[in-house]
């Protein structure tokens, strides 16, 4: 079969100890049966490792943080598109998704396709809206409350037992055993992500995750459940294994069918000792461990691109159970001239 040539831009090249999904997404695309891809990296920082992985990323452009305004952001994307003729962009950061969803139509008019959740879907599953989300779709979620100031911390005792979880609106989650620790975490989180901060009931059990892809019409195109086997001190999976838990797949399909989810997603779920499943978070994008799904037989990045360019994609029917991933760190040797080029011209 002749492979279709596509130019695809990908963010999230920060393959650090808190890895972004960019590099594993690119690996999935490179292994595609359908596409021959030219990969354009979009980077926020000069030292995102993916920038320097020449086998994976053909060219990288710096882009401004979404916080610098949507106009600057869009202008830069338009400039990159004028140079590279992008077919598809796969954004991989929660914090940038809003800007990309807002710009979806404008990008599509330029010929740049994305495959993202709608703004409504994106907002509905936000951490601060999770209790409502659970109620609406009949899924157990831990009790949670949003707080915006110190004053709220003293009142937490009325609603929560310690320990409890303190979470940022996009990232970070810390366990706190007393109000002093809540204050500490509150400060750390608000400095980085602002308010609100989410306080969540701590559910004891095994954490299991599902990476999935919805076609926007209610069909689950792909779904692979995984259990973390090795967790870093940041709570990130450094090793994991695909599991054959049919309840998890059924729960994912139900969620996608009812929300008509469009795009990639990751469900974070706790299975407690009574075998009850609590949804603790929905990440509205492909997670960094997506390459495990590729290894288990479901090339989710490839399927997402096929959906983005309007192809008819049939759902994957199975995946291999017992496939494992083990991350590792690896020192690449670069040269100051590469760093110089990127920091002076914004391109490499």
């Amino acid at each position: 079969m002749k492979k279709k040539k596509l130019t695809i831009a990908v963010t999230g090249l920060n393959n650090t100890d808190n890895p972004g999904p960019g590099v594993p997404v690119i690996r999935g695309l490179r292994e595609s049966e359908y596409f021959d891809v030219r990969v354009i990296g979009l980077a926020y920082e000069n030292l995102e490792p993916g920038i320097y992985m020449k086998d994976l990323v053909d060219k990288t452009y710096q882009i401004p943080y979404p916080s610098s305004g949507s106009e600057a952001f869009l202008d830069r994307i338009k400039y990159i598109h004028s140079k590279e003729n992008l077919d598809v962009i796969i954004p991989n950061f929660d914090a940038e998704l809003y800007s990309f969803i807002k710009a979806e139509k404008e990008l599509a008019d330029l010929g740049v396709r994305t495959f993202l959740p709608t703004l409504e879907q994106f907002d509905e599953r936000a951490k601060s809206n999770l209790p409502k989300f659970g109620e609406k779709y009949g899924i157990k979620v831990p009790f949670s409350k949003t707080i915006t100031s110190y004053a709220d911390i003293n009142n937490l005792r009325n609603n929560f037992d310690y320990p409890l979880l303190v979470k940022g609106k996009f990232y970070d989650a810390y366990l706190a055993y007393n109000p002093e620790q809540v204050i500490n975490h509150f400060n750390k989180i608000t400095a980085k992500w602002g308010v609100p901060v989410i306080i969540q009931e701590f559910i004891r059990g095994t954490e299991v995750n599902v990476v999935a892809l919805g076609d926007g019409k209610g069909n689950t195109i792909a779904a692979v459940p995984m259990r973390k086997q090795y967790i870093t001190d940041k709570g990130k999976a450094w090793g994991g294994i695909t599991i054959g838990d049919e309840n998890l797949v059924a729960l994912t399909k139900k969620l996608i069918a009812e929300t008509k989810w469009r795009g990639g997603m990751e469900l974070e779920i706790i299975k407690n000792v009574n075998n009850e499943y609590y949804l603790i978070e929905i990440n509205p994008r492909i997670p960094a461990w997506v390459y495990l799904a590729v290894g288990a037989g479901q090339n989710i990045p490839e399927a997402l691109v096929r959906l983005a360019i309007g192809e008819n994609v049939q759902p994957y029917k199975s995946y291999d159970i017992g496939k494992m991933f083990i991350r590792y760190s690896y020192d690449m040797i670069g040269d100051i001239s590469q760093f110089e080029k990127l920091s002076m011209t914004g391109e490499l």
Binding site: T206, M226, R227, Q229, I241, T242, I243, G244, D245, I321, G322
Partner: protein, 83 residues
């Protein structure tokens, strides 16, 4: 006691529960017991086989055997409706 049908037991005693991702290492005796359970042998039959095959009296074996079955139950490796 019936071992869940999806539990994989290798000849070398490695056990994998595909539902949870948990894995266990068994010694030779435990592996032999598990294989027998998987093949549908009754508990009384297994006790007899072991007492005959190995240098152990039935009571001692039985005690250890039921300990082991308790462990399998604890780790959710057995069917809930026991046959």
């Amino acid at each position: 006691m019936k071992i869940k049908s999806n539990i994989a037991v290798s000849d070398n005693g490695f056990v994998f529960d595909p539902n949870t991702g948990d894995s266990y290492n068994l010694n030779n005796t435990a592996a032999e017991i598990l294989q027998m359970l998987k093949s549908g042998k009754e508990e009384t039959e297994i006790i007899k086989v072991f007492a005959k095959k190995y240098d152990v009296d039935e009571t001692t074996f039985e005690q250890n055997f039921y300990d082991f079955l308790g462990m399998l139950n604890h780790y959710n490796l057995v069917e809930e409706n026991r046959g």
